[in-house]
Amino acid sequence: MTILTLSKLTKRYGGTTVLDEVSLDIAAGERVALLGHNGAGKSTLMKLVLGLIHADGGRIEVAGHAPGSAVARSLTAYLAENAAFHPAITGREQLCYYLRLRGQPVKQADELLEKVGLADAATRRIGTYSKGMRQRVGLAQALIGNPRLMVLDEPTSGLDPVSRREFYALLDELAAKGTAVLLSSHALSELEARTDRMVILAKGKQVAQGTLADLRSDAALPLTVTIFPKAEQAPQVAEAFPEAQIFEDRVTFTCAPDEKLAVLERIVALRGHIADYDLHAATLDDLYSHISRRVA
C-alpha cells in the first residue's frame, strides 16, 4: 500500500527552482533515504510533504490526503534537523505535551523516553541535555502513536556511532510494523546501507533512485588494487602489471568491477614474487560523489 506519493513536485523561490519535477512513491514498511548536498532540496521536499510550505507544481498525497490537512498531520511524524526544545522544561514534560497534542495518554512518556535511552534524564531540564540527547527527545516524540509516515530530517547527524546503530534498529522495528519512513542525509556512508531505497537529489533534480546494489552496478566504479612485492622482486611485479603506478614498496592500479577475477588470476600467477595484496571497492562516499558529480 502506498503511503506517500509525490508526482512531478516543483517548488520555486523567486527565480530559482529548488525542486524540479521530483516523483517518488513510498509504500508502507519501506525505508527511503533522500540524499543530497546542502541546498539540494531535501529539507524543502520534506516541508512540502509536511504541509509547512506549498508546492508550485505537482501533487503530494499522504495516504490519499492533502499534505498539512488534519488527517495527514495525524498520520505523520516529523523529526527536525538539530531538534531543539525549550531549555526550561524537562524531557518528560516535553513528551507529555506532544502526547496530549496527539490525544495519547501521557503515561506513555516514560515508556518512550526509556525506548530512546533517556529514562534517567526524564526529570532533568532539556537545557542540560547534550545535542545527542536532544536529538533523542526529538526521536521519542516522532514515535508517538505509531505514525503511518515518518519524516526524518538528517536524524543521525548528532548521534555517535553506537546511538546511530540503535536508531536504525528502531527504524527497522517501525518499518516492520508498516510505517513508511522518509529520511534525509548528506552522506551515503551515514546511512550504513540500512534503507531499502535511496533517492539522490542534486540542485533540485532527482538524479538517481534505487537500492545500494543498483546504484553500485550503475556507477560501475573501478576497484583499487595494491600489490606489495617481496624484497628485491619489485621489477618483476612492475613488469607483470604495466598499467600500475610503481612506489618504493608497492604497486597500485585500478580495475573495472567486471575485470576483478582476471586481475586476481594475474596476481595468483605471480605468487612467488608477492608478499601481500589488497583489493578495495569504491566506498559509499566515492559512489555518492561520483553520482552527484555526474549530474553537475
Binding site: 516541508k47 509536511l50 504541509g51 509547512l52 510550505i53 488534519a70 498531520r73 495525524s74 505523520t76 511524524a77 516529523y78 527536525a80 534537523e81 538539530n82 531538534a83 531543539a84 526544545f85 525549550h86 526550561a88 522544561i89 514534560e93 516535553q94 505535551y97 506532544y98 496530549r100 497534542l101 496527539r102 490525544g103 531540564r125 526529538g138 516524540q141 519524516v151
Partner: protein, 275 residues
C-alpha cells in the same frame, strides 16, 4: 480543540514559571503598588474620599505603564523564539492549528499577568484597609473594575507582543519592536497628544479629534474609563479633566474591543510566518 489549547497553555505556564517571569511580574507589581499605597495615601488623608479609592486612583497611573510592559516582556518571544529553536515547525506538523497554538500561549501568559495584577492590587488594598479601616470598603467596586480592566489591557498587549513576535521572526528583533511599541503607545502617544493640544490652542483638533484619540489608544481608554468611573480626582493625571467629558461607553468599548482586535492581528501575522 480545548485539550490542545490547554496542553499548550500548561506547557507555556511551566516555561513562564521556570523563566521567573511569574516571580518577576508579581514582584514588580507588588513593589510599585506598595510604594504608591504609602506615598499616594499621605497627601490624600484630608479628602473625603475613602482611602482605597485614593489608592486605586494611583494604581491606575501605575497600571497604565506596568501592565503593558509586563505583557510585552512575556509575549515577545512566543513565536520568534520557537521559530529560532525549530520547535515551531515541529508543533505545526502536529494536529495543532495555528489558532490553537496562539490561544494556548495567550491563556498561559494572561494567567501570569492576572496573577501579577491581583497580587499587586491586593497588597495595595490591604495597605488601604490597614490605614483606613472598614471605610476602605467603599473603594472595592473601583478596585474590582481596575482588576478586570487591567486583565483586558494585558490581553491586548500580549496579543500585540505576539504580532511583533510573528513579524520580526527573531527574538532580538521582536524584543526591540515590543519596547518600541510600548514607548510609542504608552509614552510618546500621550506626549504627542499633549503637544498637539497645546499647539492647537482650543481649535478643532482639541474639540473633535482629541476625545477620539484618547479613546482609540487602549492604554488611554483604560485610564479614562477607570478615572471617570471611580469618580476619584487624580491630581497626578493631566488627563482627568478630559476624562470627565467623554461618555464612559467609549473607553469601555475600546477596552473590550482591543484584546479581540490585537488577537486577530496576531493571528493574521502568524499566518505569514513560514516555519
Amino acid at each position: 480543540m480545548f485539550s490542545r489549547i490547554l496542553a499548550t497553555a500548561a506547557l507555556e505556564f511551566a516555561i513562564a514559571r521556570r523563566n521567573r517571569w511569574v516571580v518577576v511580574s508579581v514582584a514588580m507589581m507588588i513593589l510599585f503598588s506598595l510604594v504608591l499605597a504609602f506615598a499616594g495615601a499621605a497627601p490624600a488623608g484630608q479628602l473625603a474620599v475613602d482611602p482605597l479609592s485614593v489608592t486605586v486612583a494611583s494604581l491606575i497611573s501605575l497600571a497604565v505603564y506596568l501592565v503593558p510592559l509586563i505583557a510585552l516582556l512575556i509575549s515577545f518571544d512566543a513565536i520568534a523564539g520557537e521559530s529560532e529553536r525549530g520547535t515551531l515547525a515541529l508543533s505545526l506538523t502536529y494536529p495543532l492549528a495555528r489558532t490553537e497554538l496562539l490561544l494556548g500561549k495567550l491563556v498561559a501568559q494572561l494567567a501570569v499577568v492576572t496573577i501579577a495584577v491581583v497580587a499587586g492590587y491586593a497588597v495595595a488594598a490591604v495597605a488601604a484597609f490597614a490605614t483606613g479601616g472598614v471605610e476602605a470598603a467603599d473603594g472595592l467596586p473601583a478596585l474590582w473594575r481596575l482588576v478586570w480592566t487591567s486583565v483586558l489591557l494585558g490581553a491586548a498587549f500580549l496579543s500585540l507582543g505576539h504580532a511583533m513576535s510573528c513579524l520580526s521572526r527573531r527574538p532580538s528583533g521582536a524584543a526591540a519592536m515590543a519596547i518600541g511599541l510600548w514607548l510609542v503607545m504608552i509614552v510618546l502617544y500621550d506626549l504627542a497628544l499633549l503637544a498637539a493640544v497645546v499647539a492647537d490652542d482650543g481649535g478643532a483638533f482639541t474639540t473633535d479629534v482629541f476625545p477620539w484619540a484618547l479613546v482609540v489608544n487602549p492604554a488611554d481608554a483604560f485610564r479614562i474609563f477607570n478615572l471617570a468611573a471611580s469618580g476619584a480626582v487624580d491630581a497626578a493625571s493631566g488627563l482627568s479633566g478630559a476624562a470627565s467629558s467623554i461618555a464612559a461607553w467609549k473607553p469601555l468599548a475600546a477596552i473590550v474591543i482591543w484584546p479581540v482586535l490585537a488577537a486577530t492581528l496576531a493571528r493574521l501575522s502568524f499566518q505569514r510566518v513560514t516555519p
